[in-house]
């Protein structure tokens, strides 16, 4: 018999998470900014850290976390299978490339930018570009969603896949897009402006300080997710996820609500895209491909669809494994056994297995959201159990 539950994990998390999160973040920051570079640190520790978890890896993981949280709203809350999320990441990235670099060298617009006013190109303040990128992505989310969200789940998955291919391809071929250069094509946009934080401008190697900023962005996404979930939009999403037809007959406007999930999810993609552009100091077209969308999906699935903390965990684990972990593990293995196995190439195997095995054996994810566990195992509800619960006489 299913567990009863009074409060879901949302209400419990509400205020207290900020404290725990801030403490963890602070510790991480102190470690990477001050402890690791300290001369007194034993060399072995320094090497181990740089092999297994260099600061760049954490920052990159956080970008994935931000996007996974965005995808979580679409897939986890509203139950819409989106296989083309990479499109939003790309758009976010190019927003950074357009508004924070010398790409438009023939213009000279500087709005609180972090470079001298005479510098060619458009240079808008990073924080504004974040918002700009987010909203532009949200706009595209609505644009993509409007004609397609009424399709049923498999078709929707395919259409999102299509968009996830078309948009990156537009940027890939963007050097000559009906005569205009919108992306420098495969050459990419090299060099974005540093991040201004009042006293300092953070460049691509200021990993420690950037860590704080990325942590902040992640916190914003967590905050937004939890708040929305508790309010009427979150309830509407959960209702749609469970029974779309009943939801609409209870007054929930399906299209509008689904579009809202797309828009908010896409916004996160924009944030992630801009952040990532500052991380790699540029925007490179080959980076944006379909596999990223699946990676993000795997992160949401692994963590537990709908559960913010599970998704963070899943995103961290998988992005780390994909980025740093596999190679580091491979090095270790090869050194130990004298082999030459290319572990990094096992990414596909890993992600494929994660998706398959999770669906077969632990559909609700590592940190399941209590109701999700019930829903995804509906088919296994014992016949006896079902009829027993039905025969119970009311009071």
């Amino acid at each position: 018999m299913a567990k009863t539950s009074v409060a879901n994990n949302v209400t419990r998390s509400n205020r207290k998470w900020i404290i725990g999160y801030s403490i963890t973040g602070f510790i991480l920051f102190i470690t990477y900014q001050f402890l690791i570079p300290w001369e007194g640190l034993p060399l072995g520790v320094y090497d181990a850290v740089y092999r297994w978890m260099p600061p760049s890896a954490i920052n990159e993981s956080l970008v994935y976390v931000i996007m996974a949280l965005g995808l979580n709203i679409v897939v986890g809350y509203a139950g819409l299978l989106d296989l083309g999320y990479v499109a939003f990441w790309a758009i976010g990235g190019y927003c950074a490339g357009w508004f924070m670099s010398e790409f438009f060298y023939f213009l000279n617009i500087n709005f609180f930018g972090s470079v001298p006013a005479e510098a060619p190109g458009i240079h808008i303040n990073f924080w504004m570009v974040l918002l700009l990128g987010g909203f532009i992505c949200a706009f595209f989310g609505i644009l993509i969603g409007a004609p397609t969200l009424r399709l049923k789940s498999d078709y929707l998955a395919l259409v999102t896949l299509g968009f996830g291919e078309i948009i990156p391809q537009v940027f890939f071929n963007g050097e000559n897009f009906f005569g205009y250069n919108i992306s420098n094509g495969t050459k990419g946009i090299v060099g974005v402006d540093p991040i201004p934080v009042g006293v300092k401008d953070l460049g691509p190697f200021d990993f420690g300080w950037k860590l704080l900023i990325f942590l902040l962005l992640t916190a914003i996404m967590v905050f937004v997710s939890l708040r929305l979930r508790k309010g009427r939009l979150g309830r509407a999403w959960l209702a749609i996820r469970e029974d779309e037809l009943a939801a609409s007959m209870m007054g929930v406007p399906l299209m509008r609500t689904k579009l809202a999930s797309y828009a908010v999810g896409a916004f996160a993609g924009g944030l992630g895209g801009v952040a990532f552009a500052t991380h790699v100091n540029g925007v490179y077209a080959e980076r944006f491909n379909f596999t990223i969308s699946i990676f993000l999906l795997a992160m949401v699935v692994l963590g537990g669809m709908g559960n913010v903390w599970g998704v963070i965990l899943g995103a961290f684990i998988l992005s780390w494994v994909n980025g740093n972990g596999l190679t580091a593990f491979g090095q270790l293995y090869n050194e130990q056994f004298g082999t030459e196995v290319d572990f990094a190439s096992f990414t596909f195997l890993l992600f494929g297995l994660v998706l398959i095995l999770m669906m077969l054996f632990k559909r609700e994810g590592l940190l399941p959201e209590s109701r999700l566990k019930l829903m995804l195992h509906e088919d296994e509800l014992d016949d006896e159990d079902a009829s027993a619960s039905k025969k119970k006489v009311g009071k």
């Binding site: 009943a246 007054g251 009311g394």
Partner: protein
């Protein structure tokens, strides 16, 4: 007496099959009416047209003064036409309270920014909504299950919760699809009293599709009979009970009798 909902000359065609053939059906204000008929008569199809789930192939639906034939289901729910389902379609993974709050979605106002920032207005709105939900849950007799997942409720309580959820829409018309299916005699009696109390205390009309004749006869002020997609009789319970066409529809003709 004015009609709160009017279905005029409704026909529904699926491919070559005429499921509903030119049926006119009106629900007067503050009344209790029933729609009965043998299986396959088209009752549920017609019911789905009333609630906006299917669009009729011909005919129109008028609510108060407004024609609502083309409105999408969520809009129809929003303006005050609420329904329950033949197979219970509660949001099993949401609590009883949340089920009702979802039904209040269209009447709440908080937008994305207000929700994220938890403005005083939004918090007040949520508090009031929860209070109202509790009141309806109490009225329906499931007040003690407020924070219980809907799927954990007993069958009878789930039925009650479905009605409560429909009431959360603040409807003028309540459409119930086989509400007493699976209930025993005692539960059906409780249900009859509940509906009578509902119509007496609120400005609401109730329409039922039902197979349990005792319930139909006890509750209905007027009964409409469908057979093979057509309306074959309409009248008070006594008139319907003795209507030969109705009897024929349910039981068939005795052998050898002339048509």
């Amino acid at each position: 007496m004015a009609n709160v909902l009017e279905a005029q000359n409704i026909s529904v065609q699926f491919g070559g099959l005429l499921a509903v053939n030119n049926v006119t059906f009106n629900i007067p204000n503050k009344s209790i009416v029933s729609l009965i008929g043998p299986n396959g008569a088209g009752k549920t199809t017609f019911f789905n047209v009333l609630t906006g789930l299917y669009k009729p192939s011909a005919g129109k639906i008028v609510y108060g003064e407004k024609e609502i034939t083309d409105l999408p289901p969520h809009k129809i729910a929003e303006i005050g036409i609420a329904r329950t389902f033949q197979n219970i379609r509660l949001f099993g993974l949401m609590t009883a309270q949340e089920n009702l709050l979802v039904a209040m979605h269209s009447h709440l106002k908080a937008g994305i920014t207000a929700t994220i920032l938890r403005t005083p207005k939004q918090r007040k709105e949520e508090r009031e909504a929860e209070a109202k939900a509790q009141e309806i849950l109490d009225f329906a007799g499931v007040g003690k299950w407020t924070h219980e997942f809907a799927r954990n409720l007993s069958y009878g309580d789930q039925r009650r919760l479905e009605v409560a959820r429909a009431l959360a829409l603040n409807p003028k018309v309540l459409l119930l699809d086989e509400p007493t299916a699976g209930m025993n005699a005692q539960e059906s009696q409780v249900f009859i009293e509940f509906i009578n109390k509902l119509v007496a205390e609120r400005d609401i009309a109730v329409m039922l599709i039902e197979h349990d004749m005792k319930v139909v006869m006890a509750l209905s002020q007027r009964i409409t009979v469908l057979d093979q997609g057509e309306k074959i009789a309409e009248g008070s319970p006594d008139e319907i009970k003795s209507n030969p066409r109705v009897i024929e529809a349910y039981l068939g003709r005795p052998k050898g009798a002339k048509k």
